[in-house]
Symmetry: C2
């Protein structure tokens, strides 16, 4: 998306629910895309794709050479997530480390603040990108539109918010 809200392209891929291929899938999407050279930042809705398939945004940034921003609207319950990980995943320590490594940082929006974590760019630059990407309400357009597309495909008609 060209900010604030001009859609330039749509990419689709798949990762395994609760798997560990989130980084690989995102890396392949970016590296294989004809939009790669124009990308200034990759924005992700939270750090988990498909259950507990977690994105290590530092590793992703290193692999693709493009800054990565996660955005979430509600503070995650890390304690609850950690006990779920301990119970169900043999590699829970690695997953917990990914969850806890990055600082969540609040960005004011004029509505409810959002929480972001960053890899490869500073707070000031990230805040500029995020604020430029908001058209109505507090959800950056790239995430609002991506959610709408994914939700429309899965359900036949888009529902809910990014």
């Amino acid at each position: 998306m060209r900010l604030p809200n001009y859609l330039e392209g749509v990419l689709r891929s798949e990762c395994a629910v609760d798997g560990d291929d989130a980084n690989l899938v995102l890396e392949r999407m970016v590296q294989g895309s004809r939009f790669k050279s124009q990308l200034k930042a990759v924005m992700i809705d939270g750090v988990a794709l498909g259950g507990f398939n977690l994105v290590d945004i530092d590793a992703l940034h290193e692999a693709i050479g493009v800054p990565v921003i996660t955005v979430t609207r509600d503070p995650p319950d890390l304690g609850k997530m950690e006990s779920a990980l301990r119970k169900h995943f043999s590699d829970w320590e690695r997953r917990c480390e990914v969850l806890r490594r990055k600082e969540l940082w609040e960005v004011g929006t004029g509505h409810k603040p959002i929480l972001v974590s960053l890899a490869g760019l500073g707070h000031a630059e990230a805040e500029e990108i995020i604020k430029k990407s908001m058209v109505r309400g507090a959800v950056p357009e790239p995430l609002r539109v991506a959610h709408m597309i994914a939700s429309g495909l899965a359900k036949g008609e888009s529902k809910g918010k990014a």
Copy 2:
């Protein structure tokens, strides 16, 4: 889409290649949508969905009570289409009648003009809607974005133009 380019929702459905369910599928999508009451017009990229599955826009307008606009960039070769229909479809007369019934009307865009056909609204109103929907180039945003989504889904990355 709220004009010029604010995406409000995404709907997905399927119709049969060369089938005759295009009208039924579009009618169900619109009638079943929570956006129905806000719709001012339905815009379609040409009159054929999936091969020769043709939309009868007069019947669609009658069924949904919302104006319908088709947009195409190149003049169709009606003679060639008619001979393909005669050759492959037992109901070719009905399909040819749908193809030929509506006048194609040219709308200037500042680039190459586009061709439109209308059901349920007049030229002046249609021209206002179409011009308001163009952000860059000569393709109305709802069609440009819908094409990008469908193409991204089918191919993994969007390509080509609506």
